[in-house]
């Protein structure tokens, strides 16, 4: 199976990766003959970033569920794996999705570059390159050279580009290079208006394309002409005004312009990327808390992050012939933007363009219905309904086991949080009424009813589950739970809600 290596850089990288995980969990798949195994690599110096921690936990749960339920169960059917699982070398890394940036924690940038050991001319040069002010963890104003990097690069790509250049000599990059095959692809997620992402994207891209010149790594043969896609997220949210913070909304556009100007020569201008997705939103909605990173940086999920995740699906649908590369240069570089049908402040499925709606409406609704059933009705059905008692049994012991109690419950709880956060955000995405009856679950969709058509409620779902499961064989209770609900929710949403796949 071919692999897609995803470099998720900075806070936006983690949040887009989270959205992708949700889409993959719901069964969203690229329309392609090829199946891809996803290998996420999160690059963020800010280890206490709540968005990063949430995404890591989510990926861990996804991995366990997918391993237990198998890859033909509908939900969770795209394999996600950690980089360390691909290697058998003695230098095997711990099973984490996060790139371990060395020597960043607790160090000032000046210590990282060995400022005190520089001679006077170089000190003067560093002073010019890294002039300006920022803040430290204690919210005190400091010189840029004295920034402590364990809360990220606080919107300073000039620091980020120096630190992230260490990626090319890391064990992770060596593992990535030695496992990269001709059919594999790379995708880079970054934002352009902050520090980590804006610096990381061109740095990673350059390191991959220049891998042939890197003497520290083996098996770099395919990297130079790798099929590389990227989404660069332009400003899409508003932040609170805080004159003490180094992060200001007014800087977003200036930083974006500066970065785009740099990309013009070093990314798009030299054709080093095969497919680049731009996404932005100028809607001025609910401001986020102005947190440079010292308070954990936990931002609500946003529609733009989900749309960015769809860029990855779109990239996987792009045929190989459109991603040809020669000597590190894309022969037919592709540039794409994302749009919706209606400029709505609160997006529903019907506000999306047809392709996007077809891609996600059915699958997200399936997962939402699955979650609703498990949280609101499973305890009434367990060991009572035929589908639960049919072999392999889904009984009380099963729901007390880690798979259900921890992995699946936690994942679905995160899924609900993700939907709620997107609904509460402005611009919002609120296609579901999560707390309503099943028939009112999907905004703008009414249930088809008639003389001979039963209504959709939990008992009717039990009927359909039992009917669906009748005579089928499942390899385990975990696989049965996932596969049975996938098939049944698809049938209900098709026949009763008129959703199309």
């Amino acid at each position: 199976m071919a692999r897609l290596y995803i470099f998720a850089i900075g806070g936006t990288g983690s949040r887009v990766l989270k959205s992708l995980t949700m889409l993959l969990a719901s069964g969203v798949k690229p329309n392609s003959d090829k199946n891809f195994e996803i290998v996420p690599i999160i690059i963020d110096p800010h280890k206490s970033n709540e968005d990063l921690k949430r995404t890591e936990r989510l990926l861990g749960n996804y991995q366990t569920i997918s391993n237990d339920a198998g890859l033909d169960s509908g939900f969770f059917s795209t394999k996600i794996t950690t980089l360390d699982r691909l290697t058998t070398s003695q230098n095997r890394l711990s099973g984490s999705f996060t790139f371990n940036l060395q020597e960043v924690g607790g160090r000032k940038f000046s210590e990282y570059i060995g400022f005190s050991q520089l001679d006077e001319p170089n000190k003067a040069l560093a002073d010019i390159l890294f002039s300006g002010k920022s803040i430290n963890k204690r919210h005190e104003e400091v010189n840029l050279l004295d920034v402590e990097m364990d809360i990220g690069f606080v919107g300073n790509p000039n620091i980020g580009s120096i630190v992230l250049n260490q990626v090319k000599d890391s064990q992770e990059f060596k593992d990535f290079a030695s496992n990269f095959n001709e059919d594999d692809r790379v995708f880079i997620i970054s934002s352009i208006f902050g520090g980590t992402g804006a610096a990381g994207f061109p740095t990673i891209l350059k390191n991959i394309r220049d891998a042939m010149n890197n003497r520290n790594i083996d098996g770099k043969g395919f990297l130079q002409d790798a099929k590389i896609g990227a989404v660069t997220v332009l400003p899409y949210f508003n932040i609170e005004k805080d004159s003490d913070s180094p992060i200001q909304k007014s800087d977003f556009i200036a930083k974006t312009k500066a970065a785009l100007y740099y990309y013009k020569d070093n990314v798009t201008g030299n054709n080093s990327i095969n497919s680049l997705y731009y996404i932005a939103d100028n809607y001025s909605g609910k401001p986020y808390k102005n947190d440079p990173g010292d308070n954990g940086q936990k931002n609500d999920a946003h529609f733009v992050e989900m749309a960015s995740a769809l860029a990855i699906i779109d990239f996987l649908e792009t045929p190989d012939s459109d991603l040809e590369t020669s000597e590190g240069k894309a022969l037919k570089p592709i540039y794409k933007e994302f749009g919706i049908r209606k400029d709505s402040a609160d997006i529903k499925f019907s506000d999306l363009e047809d392709y996007t709606e077809r891609k996600i409406a059915m699958r997200l609704s399936q997962l939402a219905l699955f979650r609703k059933y498990l949280t609101e009705h499973l305890s009434n059905a367990i060991e009572k309904e035929a589908w639960s008692n049919d072999s392999p049994e889904i009984n009380k012991k099963f729901i007390d086991d880690t798979f259900y109690r921890t992995n699946l419950s936690e994942f679905l709880s995160s899924f609900a949080d993700w939907l709620k956060e997107m609904a509460d955000n402005k611009r919002g995405f609120s296609p579901f009424n999560l707390d309503s009856s099943i028939e009112a679950l999907i905004e703008g969709r009414t249930v088809k009813s008639g003389w001979f058509s039963s209504k959709v409620d939990f008992p009717s779902m039990d009927n359909k589950l039992s009917k669906q499961g009748k005579g089928k064989t499942y390899s385990s209770a975990s696989q049965k739970l996932i596969k049975l609900f996938y098939d049944t929710t698809e049938e209900i949403l098709t026949s009763k809600f008129g959703l199309k796949n």
Binding site: K384, E385, A386, N389, D390, P459, D462, N463, S466
Partner: protein, 153 residues
């Protein structure tokens, strides 16, 4: 079949529920008291008991076949209906026969005999309903009630 049903209703010998005269009537002892040429009540009531019980089973397990009606307390409700129907069926048929005087008048048969027969019929219908629903087949041919028995779910 007559002997089969007779042995069932007479509990294989000592009949605890109704008189010997009632048993004779059930075997077809005719109104002129000359021979077993009258209506074979054991066969009629026996088969009607089987039919009512199977129909009730089919109705719950294969026609209604609903997740709203597949718990053990639903089983007990259907079982109670089966028992009641079969009790009334046997009781009313024989009571109407006796009230109409359609039996050998030399025999001493009363309403208590009809109640006894009704009880026997009800008990056998209950046993048949248990047998029909306690094994994997045929209940497994249904969907929602494929695990419904008197003890679960």
């Amino acid at each position: 079949m007559e002997e089969f049903f007779a042995s069932l209703y007479e509990w294989f010998g000592p009949n605890p529920f109704y008189s010997k005269d009632m048993a004779e009537l059930m075997r077809g002892w005719d109104i002129t008291c000359t021979g077993y040429i009258g209506t074979p009540w054991y066969v009629i009531i026996g088969w009607s008991m089987v039919a009512i019980t199977i129909a009730s089973y089919v109705l719950q397990y294969h026609i209604i076949d609903s997740s709203k009606f597949n718990k053990k307390h639903h089983w007990w409700i259907v079982a109670a209906i089966v028992v009641l129907f079969n009790f009334l069926n046997a009781f009313l048929i024989m009571n109407n026969t006796i009230q109409a005087g359609d039996y050998c008048t030399q025999d001493n048969i009363g309403i208590s005999d009809c109640i006894g027969l009704g009880l026997s019929n009800a008990i056998w219908s209950f046993i048949l309903f248990i047998l029909l629903t306690s094994f994997k087949y045929p209940r497994n041919l249904g969907i929602n009630c494929s695990h419904t028995t008197f003890w679960k779910p």
